[in-house]
């Protein structure tokens, strides 16, 4: 049975049972690489996507629940950012992605799908978050490599870039 999904501003029908978690459809039917399996229990954040701009755990979200909503994955963050900021052109990377590169923040990088999706959500509402605000917002995203200190720097750097265009 077909479900109509809008992912990264593109609408398409997918053939999957309505109880299928969105994650498996994004990976297997749409061949996306951003969202990924981490726990299947909404505990770690590996699978995070934005649903109408709100960070959502796709591993426990049935596709029937997101029909008609706008889903943004890591791949779609630059375009989502351009739309929000009313930029004339879509940048190659969202500022948080650029900041992660500039700070050499990640190690294995597997959790950074969720880390960057969540940080993008935070920065869309607050471009200069305090340390405490960052810690609160990001607390549900686990990193086993232990890169939290650098990620903190990257989020602040991205916020500055968004606020002033400077890095």
């Amino acid at each position: 049975m077909a479900t109509r999904l809008t992912v990264n501003q593109r609408t398409q029908d997918v053939e999957a049972a309505p109880d299928t978690p969105l994650l498996y459809v994004l990976i297997n039917d749409l061949s996306l690489q951003g969202p990924r399996f981490g726990c299947g229990l909404a505990q770690c954040g590996a699978c995070s996507v934005l649903v109408d701009g709100v960070e959502t755990r796709s591993c426990v979200t049935p596709i029937s629940r997101v029909e008609g909503k706008s889903i943004t994955t890591l791949e779609g963050l630059p375009a989502w950012y351009a739309q929000q900021q009313k930029l004339a052109a879509v940048p190659e990377l969202h500022p948080i992605q650029q900041a992660v590169i500039d700070e050499q923040a990640l190690q294995c990088g597997y959790c950074y799908n969720g880390q960057m999706v969540k940080a993008a959500e935070l920065l869309s509402k607050n471009q200069q978050p305090t340390d405490a605000a960052i810690r609160t917002a990001m607390n549900g995203h686990i990193c086993r490599c232990g890169t939290y200190p650098r990620l903190m720097k990257a989020i602040k750097r991205a916020g500055l870039a968004m606020a002033g265009g400077a890095r």
Binding site: Y24, Q33, G40, E75, Q97, Y110, R144, G146, P149
Partner: protein, 751 residues
């Protein structure tokens, strides 16, 4: 991070009442910090490139670029960048002219496990020697081409020119482009003087980061092969006693008949399900009705586990017995002693393991993230019955387990499932599979005693440690019956090492005894976890060190400083003291009241080589029992630093991991099985609890590199434990320092 680089210790054996006692003559720990540097070590097994041929390691292309063909696995530690830096430096090429190659059996040289922080220390040496050999061979060709002797030639960015006549030049690409060297790898070409390095020692950005940030990096989890089925293993939720494993009593295949295309695969006690659709496979694994035989023979509580280890009939060995501890303690002015317990801890990679296997009647292609392609090929041969030349293993990165996690098990399981299903299978472990069937870092319990004289000079150090060995045989091969559960032996008998139980200090009377517990019955599967055993050892040893300093009324930094063993330990100790603006004082709990207490702690520690130190500043909430590591300072002296940015990042992340393991992580169990099966029941450090970290790299460019992937962990963890005493005046004798445990300790102390 898993393999011991210790040579076999010379030993003599004699019997002592109560058990076999083996006395070891310790090799001075500093000897292990030296880089072997020799060419032997890569195995020339079947169906692998010959390690003694230069073409195995380096290819020069017509466009004047080079491919460095090494056998080390990127695990997020930056090895795919740092090895290229070493090669480019030695070849006199630019970083833009060198590239790596994906790892695959039969194509990549066999450099063994990427482990024990030895990617640079061992792998780097070989790459450096190969690059030097290649440069030498290219200069010989250039000498003929340019009509000038080799000692009149100079190289820059892969362009060889004659000194004083720069117009006479030729590129590496023109000399050899796309042709083979056809020379043996001698390892004898001259190595560049470190003072002339322009790439090594600089902050070259990591190659893997941009694609990872952009979401374009291909992890193992992204690999798909045509016609593949999705697989899930079916095991009890949480392993039981290692020897007993899990026996299938009954399986009701009809319980998944409602799921389209789903079917059971079984070989012996190994069970799984496959289905064309991934969600169907997930559902089928959950729905399949299986009865397991799981005896209730595990200890009921952590305390019972430690007591069980102490009561066991152990095999005892002196790791070291120097001087006369008994006499020295008798004349010591101050003595501190105590018992310390350490839990089983989990590898718990952020991504549960995955493997893709396509096994046919006479061949196998396996995609795995285990950090040894050749080792993986060997175990795949073991479960499939195929010879090595018929099996190809390709490495793809995933979240690292920082030790021997479930990668090997997952690769074997995928191969068995593919063979049984007659189709390629992509096997994804679920979170509970990974948490429940890991090889854990084994539990440890210790008695430590340290004495000093009236001036604060250490006179004796005695450490007794109990733990079982690493286990051998992995779950899939045991379940299908090709391997029996066993234990490691010989030098791999894991236990107290010199490195974290005294090597930091000058000690005349020093005794370390390993009480090896038989670990098959009533214990779990075990394997090295990042900085194996060291957190347990330093938690015991470095807390006792602090306690004796406190008794002698000497500041713990000053106490360590006046007893320090050599300039390298001193270098890292001073580095963290300076960074944290340490000023000597009495313990801060004496003057503190109120709900939130603050404290600071310092410690030294390492793994098998290199030198680590840390300072921790913590807060203790005396009402909730919550401990937060607010700020940490870490330092590593790994000898020559290839990329200071990468080492700094390693130190920063090790401080976070130290906080996680000291404050939160503990495998829990019932009398039948492991019960910590997700991130709710096995708590990792979260962003909100992460310390601010200052990393200090101590670079010794004229000393061989000795590794930086784990050597600050032991110090970081012990510094937190010491900070807890500084804040509260209470010693914690068991970790992790969970709220419940902290409140109980505070209440006992005040009663």
């Amino acid at each position: 991070m898993t393999e011991s680089i210790l040579p076999e210790l010379p030993r003599r054996e004699f019997l002592k009442a109560g058990g076999a006692l083996i006395v070891g003559f310790a090799i001075a720990p500093t000897a292990f910090a030296q880089n072997p540097g020799q060419l032997t070590g890569a195995n020339d097994g079947p169906a692998q490139p010959r390690a003694d041929q230069l073409d195995t390691w380096i290819a020069i292309h017509a466009d004047n670029t080079a491919t460095i063909i090494h056998g080390h696995h990127e695990l997020g530690q930056g090895i795919s960048t740092t090895l290229l830096m070493i090669a480019a430096e030695e070849l006199d090429m630019d970083m833009s002219q060198v590239q790596g190659m994906p790892l695959e059996t039969g194509k990549s040289p066999n450099q063994g496990l990427t482990a024990a922080s030895a990617g640079i220390a061992r792998g780097g040496v070989r790459v450096r020697l190969a690059a030097a050999d290649a440069r030498q061979a290219l200069l010989t060709l250039a000498s003929t081409r340019l009509g000038a002797p080799v000692d009149r030639l100079t190289v820059s960015k892969g362009v060889v020119s004659v000194v004083g006549t720069p117009a006479k030049s030729v590129t590496y690409g023109e000399l050899l482009g796309n042709k083979r060297f056809n020379v043996p790898f001698t390892g004898r070409a001259p190595i560049k003087d470190y003072r002339k390095h322009t790439i090594v020692g600089t902050r070259v950005p990591r190659r893997d980061v941009p694609a990872k940030a952009a979401g374009k990096y291909v992890y193992l989890q992204h690999v798909k092969v045509p016609g593949m089925l999705h697989g899930r293993i079916v095991r009890p939720r949480g392993q039981g006693s290692f020897l007993h494993g899990a026996k299938v009593m009954s399986v009701e295949a009809s319980s998944i008949s409602s799921i389209p295309g789903a079917r059971v695969v079984r070989r012996g006690d190994f069970l799984g399900v496959v289905a064309p659709n991934e969600w169907d496979a997930v559902k089928a694994a959950q729905q399949l009705k299986v009865t397991w035989d799981m005896p209730a023979i595990l200890p009921a509580t952590p305390q019972a586990l430690y007591d069980q280890m102490r009561a066991a009939k152990t095999v005892d060995r002196f790791v070291l017995d120097r001087g006369d501890c008994t006499a020295a303690f008798a004349r010591a002015a101050y003595v501190a002693s105590g018992r310390y317990d350490a839990p089983y801890q989990l590898h718990g990679p952020f991504a549960p393991n995955c493997a893709v296997a396509d096994v046919t009647r006479d061949s196998a292609l396996v995609y795995s993230s285990r950090q040894t392609i050749y080792g993986t090929r060997q175990v795949v041969c073991g479960v499939t019955g195929l010879p090595p030349e018929k099996v190809v293993v390709r490495f793809y990165e995933t979240s690292p387990s920082y030790g021997r996690g479930c990668q090997e098990d997952c690769a074997m399981a995928a191969a068995v499932m593919s063979q049984e299903a007659g189709a390629p299978v992509r096997l994804q472990f679920m979170r509970w599979d990974e948490h429940g069937w890991d090889h854990y870092q084994q539990a440890h319990t210790a008695d430590v005693k340290i004495g000093c004289d009236a001036s604060g000079r250490i006179v004796a150090y005695e450490y007794h440690g109990w733990q079982h060995n690493f286990t051998s045989g992995d779950t899939t091969e045991i379940m299908i019956g090709t391997k029996k559960p066993g234990e490691g032996d010989g030098i791999r008998a894991q236990g107290p090492t010199l490195f974290n139980t005294g090597d930091q200090y000058t000690i005349a009377n020093w005794r370390i005894v390993n009480h090896r517990v038989p670990g098959m019955n009533g214990y779990f599967k075990a394997a090295p976890l990042r900085s194996p055993m060291d957190i347990a050892l330093s938690f015991a040893g470095e807390q006792t060190m602090d306690e004796v300093a406190f008794k002698a009324s000497i500041d713990p930094y000053q106490f360590r400083r006046q007893n320090i063993n050599g300039e390298r330990w001193l270098g890292v100790l001073d580095a963290v003291a300076r960074a944290s603006r340490w000023s000597p004082r009495r313990a801060s709990f004496i003057s503190q009241t109120g709900r939130i207490r603050t404290g600071r702690g310092i410690a030294l520690g390492t793994h098998l080589s290199s030198y680590g130190a840390a300072v921790a500043e913590i807060e203790v909430d005396t009402e909730t029992g919550v401990v937060i590591a607010k700020r940490m300072f870490g330092s590593i002296d790994p000898g020559q630093v290839i990329n200071p940015g990468v080492v700094e990042h390693q130190i920063e992340s090790q401080m976070c991991v130290a906080a996680s393991r000291m404050l939160k992580e503990e495998v829990t169990f019932s009398t039948t099985n492991v019960t910590s099966l997700d991130w709710g029941t096995y708590q990792p450090l979260r962003f909100g609890e992460a310390p601010d970290v200052t990393a200090v790299v101590v670079d010794r460019p004229n000393v061989p590199s000795s590794g930086a992937g784990e050597e600050a962990l032991a110090a970081g963890a012990a510094a937190i434990a010491n900070a807890f005493f500084d804040a509260t005046g209470v010693r914690m004798h068991v970790f992790p320092l969970t709220p419940k445990r902290v409140l109980a300790a505070l209440q006992t102390a005040s009663a």
